[in-house]
C-alpha cells in the first residue's frame, strides 16, 4: 500500500458492510433516500454533495460527485460555482473567527 488514497478503493466502499451488515444497510437506505429526487432535484443534491466533498476534502467523494454532476447534466461552469460556494464558506468561516480574535484582543489590551 504505497498511497493512503487509491481510486480503485472507491469500488470497495461496500466492504464496510462486511462486519456490520445491519448498520451498512441502514446507512445505505438513508443515503439513497437523501439523494433521491425530492423538494430538491437529484442534480441540485449532487452539486451540494460536490461542494461538501471539497469542504471535507474527500478524494473519493470528489471523484464520485464530479461524475454524478456530469451524469445529472451539470456543466463545468456550474460545478466550479459550487466549489466556489464551498470555498467561500470555508474562507468566511475563517474570517468570522477573527471576531473571536478581536474579542480577546479587546479584553487583553489596555
Amino acid at each position: 500500500m504505497d498511497h493512503y488514497y487509491c481510486r480503485h478503493d472507491l469500488a470497495k466502499f461496500s466492504d464496510m458492510g462486511k462486519e456490520s451488515p445491519a448498520l451498512w444497510e441502514k446507512f445505505l437506505g438513508w443515503y439513497n433516500a437523501v439523494f433521491a429526487e425530492g423538494a430538491l432535484s437529484e442534480r441540485e443534491k449532487s452539486l451540494i454533495a460536490l461542494a461538501v466533498a471539497h469542504t471535507v476534502q474527500c478524494p473519493y467523494c470528489i471523484d464520485a460527485y464530479t461524475t454524478a454532476c456530469l451524469e445529472k447534466g451539470s456543466n463545468l461552469e456550474q460545478m466550479t460555482e459550487a466549489v466556489h460556494v464551498a470555498a467561500a464558506i470555508r474562507g468566511g468561516s475563517s474570517l468570522i473567527h477573527g471576531v473571536q480574535m478581536r474579542n480577546i484582543v479587546e479584553k487583553l489590551e489596555m
Binding site: 432535484s41 437529484e42 442534480r43 461524475t67 456530469l70 451524469e71 447534466g73 456543466n75
Partner: protein
C-alpha cells in the same frame, strides 16, 4: 499524445480502424461480463426482434465533420457511400412491406447524391421519414435549399446538439460547430420546424461529452428548452439522450484517456433489465451503405451482420424471416442497457 486526434481513424491509419480490432478489444473477457450471460441471468435470453417498425438506412460514411465520439468513423475522407442501385434495392424492399418509419443516417446522409431521391421515394410510399442531421450540413455551399426540401417532404429532423453551450459542443464536434448549429436551428425554426402546430418535427440529440452516462432525459430537455429559448429564441420538440458507444473514435478516446475499463464497468454496473424490452434492435433493421443488413447501426460499424440464418442483404429482404430474428450481441450492447437505456430515440426505460 493528445487524447482526441484530428481526422478519421482510417485516414490516420489507426490500428483501431478495422472493426475486427475494435471488436477484439471490447469483447475480450476480463473487464465486464458477457452481455449474453447477463441476459441469461435476468431471464431475457435469447434476445429477439419483435417486428420491424424502423427501416434505418445508413447511406454512407461521408461527413463534413469529424466528431470525437463518432461511432461511424465518418469524415470528409470517407468514400463509402450508397449507390443509386442499392438505394433502389432499399426502396424495392420497403415497397414490399408496411414498415411505417424510414430513418436515414450516415455520416451526413444529406451528402449522399441519392439522399433526396430516397426521401421522395419513401414519402411516395407514405412512410414517415427521419433524417439524422448534423445541423452544419444545412449551411454548406450547395445545400442552401436542403432545409426547405426537408420541410416540403415533412421529414422529421433529428439533430445532434450535445449541449446548450459552446464549450461542450465544440469539444465534441469541432471548433465553431456550436454557433453554426445554432444558426442552422434558427433556419429550421424559420421554416416552422419545432414550432407548435406546424407538424414539422425537430428533435435534438444529446451525447455526453466524455466518459460518463447521459443525464435523465426529461431534466436535461427542460434545461435545453430554457437556455436555447432564452439565449437564441430556438424551439424544438424533444431531446433524445444517447449513450456513447465504446466503439470507433469514442473507443479511441476511452483508451487514450485511460477511461476505457472504468467506462465499461460503469456501463455493465448500470445494466437495467427494464431497458432490454425497448432496445432499438428489437424493432429496427439497419441497412449498410453496401446493402448489407444489421440489427443496429452499432453492429453495422462492428461488421456484425444479422445472424442466425436471417437474410444478409437488402436485395434478399424477407420480412417474415427478419421479424423475429435473433439479435447478434457483444459487450458494446451494455451501452444501450445502461441506466435509463439508450436508443436512436433516446432513453427507453426508467433509470435502474
Amino acid at each position: 499524445m493528445p487524447v482526441l486526434e484530428k481526422g478519421t481513424l482510417l485516414k490516420r491509419h489507426s490500428p483501431l480502424a478495422p472493426a475486427s480490432e475494435q471488436l477484439r478489444i471490447i469483447d475480450s473477457a476480463g473487464v465486464v461480463p458477457s452481455f449474453d450471460d447477463l441476459l441469461r441471468q435476468n431471464g431475457l435470453s435469447p434476445l429477439c426482434a419483435s417486428g420491424i417498425e424502423i427501416f434505418q438506412i445508413n447511406v454512407g460514411k461521408r461527413c463534413n465533420q469529424v466528431c470525437g465520439h463518432c461511432h461511424v468513423d465518418a469524415g470528409p475522407d470517407r468514400l463509402e457511400i450508397m449507390t443509386q442501385e442499392t438505394a433502389a434495392e432499399c426502396v424495392c424492399a420497403l415497397e414490399r412491406t408496411s414498415i411505417p418509419k424510414v430513418d436515414i443516417t450516415g455520416g451526413a446522409p444529406e451528402l449522399n447524391p441519392n439522399f433526396r431521391w430516397l426521401v421522395e421515394q419513401a414519402r411516395r410510399l407514405e412512410r414517415h421519414v427521419m433524417d439524422r442531421c448534423n445541423l452544419t450540413v444545412l449551411l454548406l455551399k450547395g445545400q442552401e435549399d436542403l432545409a426547405g426540401f426537408l420541410a416540403l417532404h415533412r421529414v422529421e429532423v433529428i439533430c445532434s446538439l450535445p449541449y446548450f453551450q459552446e464549450r461542450e459542443t465544440d469539444r465534441q464536434r469541432g471548433e465553431g460547430v456550436f454557433h453554426r448549429s445554432i444558426e442552422a436551428l434558427q433556419k429550421l425554426n424559420a421554416l416552422g420546424y419545432g414550432m407548435p402546430g406546424s407538424g414539422l418535427v425537430l428533435n435534438l440529440v444529446h451525447n455526453p461529452v466524455g466518459a460518463f452516462l447521459p443525464p435523465p432525459q426529461a431534466a436535461l430537455e427542460a434545461d435545453f428548452r430554457r437556455v436555447l429559448d432564452h439565449k437564441f429564441g430556438i424551439q424544438f420538440n424533444h431531446l433524445f439522450c444517447i449513450t456513447n458507444m465504446p466503439i470507433s473514435r469514442f473507443l479511441e478516446f476511452l483508451l487514450r484517456s485511460g477511461n476505457y475499463e472504468h467506462y465499461m464497468e460503469r456501463l455493465a454496473q448500470a445494466f437495467n433489465p427494464q431497458a432490454v424490452t425497448g432496445l432499438m434492435c428489437r424493432n429496427t433493421i439497419s441497412i449498410g451503405w453496401d446493402g448489407r443488413l444489421y440489427d443496429c447501426d452499432f453492429n453495422q460499424m462492428l461488421d456484425l451482420g444479422v445472424g442466425f440464418s436471417a437474410p444478409r442483404h437488402v436485395s434478399a429482404f424477407d420480412i417474415s424471416a427478419l421479424n423475429s430474428r435473433r439479435i447478434v450481441t457483444a459487450r458494446h450492447c451494455f451501452g444501450c442497457t445502461a441506466g435509463a437505456g439508450s436508443s436512436c430515440v433516446g432513453a427507453t426505460a426508467g433509470a435502474a
